[in-house]
């Protein structure tokens, strides 16, 4: 529920960039082995349908990225200039 709210707050104009950055972070994460299989399959489902750069797609990517590497996820959102998202992610991190 929290991640759904966070994803909803990413501006549509940044969906593509956010999805690209999160996808790269997930694929290249040294903690990729921590990815829950169900979540991986959901991401593949959205990837197959070109829906990673959508609200639901971003929600799943954020969820995965926070599991694999929370610090990196937060810094990616900082790079995108999304302080509100950064604050929300830090809140759920603690």
């Amino acid at each position: 529920m929290a991640m759904e709210k966070i994803a909803r707050n990413i501006p549509v104009s940044l969906w593509n960039e956010a999805s690209e950055k999160l996808t790269d972070a997930i694929l290249n994460s040294p903690n990729a082995g921590k990815m829950p299989s169900d979540l991986a399959k959901t991401i593949l489902y959205y990837w197959q349908r070109d829906q990673l750069a959508t609200e639901v797609g971003l929600q799943r990517l954020l969820e995965a990225s926070m599991i694999l590497d929370p610090e990196k996820t937060i810094s990616l959102m900082e790079e995108l200039g999304l302080p509100e998202i950064v604050a929300m992610l830090k809140e759920i991190q603690h």
Partner: protein, 331 residues
Amino acid sequence: MVEFGIEFVPRDLYWKTTFYAVQAEKMGFDYLWITDHFNNRNVYISLAIVSAYTERIKFGPGVTNPYLAHPVVTAQAVVTLNEIAPSRVVCGLGVGDKTTLQMVNIEQSKPLATIRESVRVIREIASGGTLEMQGEIYKVSGAKLNFKVNSSIPIFIGAQGPKMLALAAEIGDGVLINASHPKDIENAMKFIREGADKAGKKLEDLSVSAYTSFSVASNYEKAFKAVVPVAAYIVAGSPEMILEQHRISVEVASKIREAIVHAQWKEAFSLVDNNMVEAFSICGTPEICIEKINKLLTAGVSQIVAGSPIGPNMRKSINIIAAEVFPHFKK
């Protein structure tokens, strides 16, 4: 028209391999090959999940070997995959990787007879027939699948040596030439023509692929660095004759082999030079790769398989191939 294949090694997590497979399909690759080594993730399970997330790309083991998996088991596996993804399954077959087979004390004995008979077993079983066979290698008495099949699954044979290349062309639907250098492809084509002639086939009816080690990046140094470990293994495993053809010092190759055996990776990789990379891979910027692909096509292949490592960053390299290499060869 030229076709492009891509090879994945299921050493990676299943969802990463599947992610890249979906990407490869979206980007226009025609074939997807997954390697088969017992010490990586299982090839058929990897292919099954790939099949569930893709719709068009043709795929298969690249390559499986009859020493570890009896050809009736291979036939069963590819037929089952073909049920999930009709008309998209191909079967890559070869003698396997010597080092991996040695780990389980399996010798690559009678390779030509083994491949010839395996192809017969796979074809007969996969087409739903009952197989009676008293071969030199396989004795089969009334083997048949207990479910209805009627598949014609193309068999591609991985080959490097003259006799295997000729056999592959004679009995296979396709040949996967394990080489990346135009000179090696030119040599291979002589034997492929010989095999095709023997079977009364036209060369155009045969899919002939250069199964290359491939590394592309916008920056040459990055592409080079990514391909070095693969080149080191190829140099270490190459017979003297092949090394000499490419003016690679047998002594240096032996040092690389020794270093690999002792897990001295830094030492092994530091001995790899430009000449070795040139001989055993397609490596560099998109422009360099395009030039080399052109030479391979001129030498006679109809499919280019981009094999491991693909590039320093798999996702980016697949995108580079699609955006900068494909437009030169595909509409």
